[in-house]
């Protein structure tokens, strides 16, 4: 699922060849033990630390199902790591701009009726030139993988605020979770977002891949008996087909009956065993799990 790219390097101290994983900037020479640092800016990978255990996730899912007045059974929770690309930096610049300014003006006008000079007050608007110094933050956080469910429901920016990050090790992560692959590089995202931003200059820009953990819990609610409507005619068709095979002719063609019986029984078995719902929750205490229809 996830491609582990390796880059070959040569140790400047002992000349030994070595490899570094993509996204790793600091590595150690296997021969002389020297710590090596890449001179290029390599996209670091971080993982948001999950604070919710599998048991806690199932408990939360059960509570949520009870609130929804749904009864069901849960399958084994699976930890899923979804990559997001974060492009951050600071935009600095000095801009000339025109600021609208309002001035109170008092005009004296001759009043012919009273034969006096009256004062008429009003507002005048003029544009004043102003120089503005800007230092602002830039942050873009977008999903970097295609998932079977819509990631737009997940508020990644809110989760990022409370998420504690640690260095992401792909090999170690794949032992305990399903890791989704990144579909494009964060550099491509940065180029796409900040191609032409006028006078502002991006400084201290960093591009990183953040892996957010989700618990995926298959749920089997006891709610539908629709499978019976398929299982009964399927079994009857299969029985008729067997009868035709062993004892003679029937009303319908035995091959058609066998085919219909196999398909209907197969669909019924699949229907009764398939999880109707999958709960996917950002594993932080206090967040609301989302319930989605399977496959949509």
């Amino acid at each position: 699922m996830n491609d582990l790219k390796l880059h070959s390097v040569t140790c400047p101290q002992c000349g030994a060849p070595g490899v570094v994983r993509e996204g790793t900037r600091i590595t150690e020479c296997e021969r002389c033990g020297a710590r090596l640092c890449s001179t290029e800016v390599i996209t670091p990978r971080y993982e948001a630390v999950a604070n919710l255990s599998a048991a806690q996730a199932v408990n939360r899912a059960r509570n949520w199902m009870e609130q929804q007045k749904k009864i069901g059974m849960f399958g084994r929770p699976e930890l899923v790591l979804i990559p997001f690309h974060e492009v951050t930096g600071r935009r600095v610049g000095v801009f000339e701009r025109k600021v609208p300014e309002r001035k109170r003006v008092h005009r004296r006008a001759y009043n012919a009726e009273t034969r006096t000079m009256d004062v008429e007050s009003g507002w005048e608007y003029e544009e004043r030139e102003d120089t503005k110094v800007m230092v602002s933050d830039v942050q873009h956080l977008t999903p970097a993988a295609r998932t079977p469910w819509d990631l737009a429901i997940f508020d990644a920016r809110a989760a990022r605020k409370s998420a504690r990050l640690r260095h992401f090790d792909l090999v170690e992560a794949q032992r305990r979770a399903t890791v989704y692959a990144e579909e494009q590089s964060p550099s491509a995202l940065a180029e796409q977002r900040f191609a032409d931003k006028g006078q502002a200059e991006m400084v201290a820009a960093s591009r990183r891949a953040l892996f957010f953990p989700f618990w995926s819990i298959p749920a089997y609610p006891r709610r539908s008996l629709a499978w019976i409507a398929l299982a009964v005619p399927g079994t009857l068709c299969l029985g008729q087909a067997l009868y035709a095979t062993f004892f003679g002719s029937t009303v319908f063609d035995s091959i058609v009956l066998a085919a219909v019986g196999v398909i209907a029984t197969g669909i019924a078995l699949h229907r009764v065993n398939r999880p109707d719902w999958a709960l996917r929750s950002w594993p932080e205490p206090g967040t609301i799990p989302r319930l989605e229809r399977h496959g949509t």
């Binding site: 040569t10 140790c11 110094v133 230092v135 942050q139 201290a204």
Partner: protein, 223 residues
């Protein structure tokens, strides 16, 4: 799996060029502080460049564990002269420009610094009289922000502060920043928050991306 032979990144040995001690580094660092001789080395254009490095003496009463945060610091020589007869605010801007002797920029990776709190600009505004020391000192973390970027940010900090007093368009500004210096400034590590002993400002721990690596550096020092 075969390594990609097309992309061959250049690597440097993380050793101090002066004393050959191993440089501690977090995964995101671009500048490193030698724990033995206190020199700072930054990777610039594919090779190491040396900068001056100092650390701030920790407060005398340490009620909480101390963690050192890296900052780029620059000496500032700024003058802002009013062009023609100006408003009183022009004179305020002139005095403000003279007030800045040093600028600081956070060198650690922080999530949305303008929103969460950038202590570099706070120190620049307050101009605190830190008791600085040079030499080996604590095993402070390196910088995740490059000195070139920090110079640009510091320039805009100073210009922004002068602009708060009076419009820059009516001022003749002469601004020069000195060479970057990597400072290690101690803060209280309160678990969920990081507190500055001098300003009492607080940062949420989750906002610092490499805090676990910065803490590890402090733990090594205590050991």
């Amino acid at each position: 799996m075969a390594p990609d032979s097309r992309a061959r990144p250049r690597v440097l040995v993380l050793r101090c060029k002066a004393c050959t001690a191993e440089l501690p580094a977090a995964s995101n660092d671009v500048a490193f502080r030698c724990p033995q001789c206190g020199r700072t080395w930054e990777i610039l254009h594919g090779s190491f460049r040396e900068w001056n490095s100092v650390y701030v003496a920790p407060p005398s009463s340490t009620s909480h564990p101390i963690v050192y945060l890296p900052y780029w610091s620059f000496t500032v020589d700024a003058t802002a002269l009013p062009m023609g007869p100006g408003h009183e605010s022009m004179l305020t801007a002139r005095d403000k420009a003279n007030f800045f002797k040093r600028a600081w920029v956070s060198a650690f990776a922080i999530y949305r610094p303008t929103y969460i709190g950038e202590w570099g600009i706070v120190y620049t505004r307050l101009q605190p009289d830190f008791e600085v020391r040079s030499g080996h000192g604590p095993e402070a973390p390196g910088a995740a922000v490059g000195s070139l970027d920090a110079t640009k940010i510091a320039t805009h900090y100073i210009l922004g502060e002068i602009d708060r007093a009076a419009d820059l368009g009516g001022l003749d500004i002469d601004l020069e920043l000195g060479d970057p210096e990597l400072w290690a400034i101690p803060c209280y590590d309160m678990g969920e928050k990081i507190r500055c002993p001098w300003t009492r400002a607080e940062l949420p721990a989750a906002a610092l991306d490499d805090l676990s690596e910065i803490r590890r550096a402090s733990e090594r020092l205590e050991a």
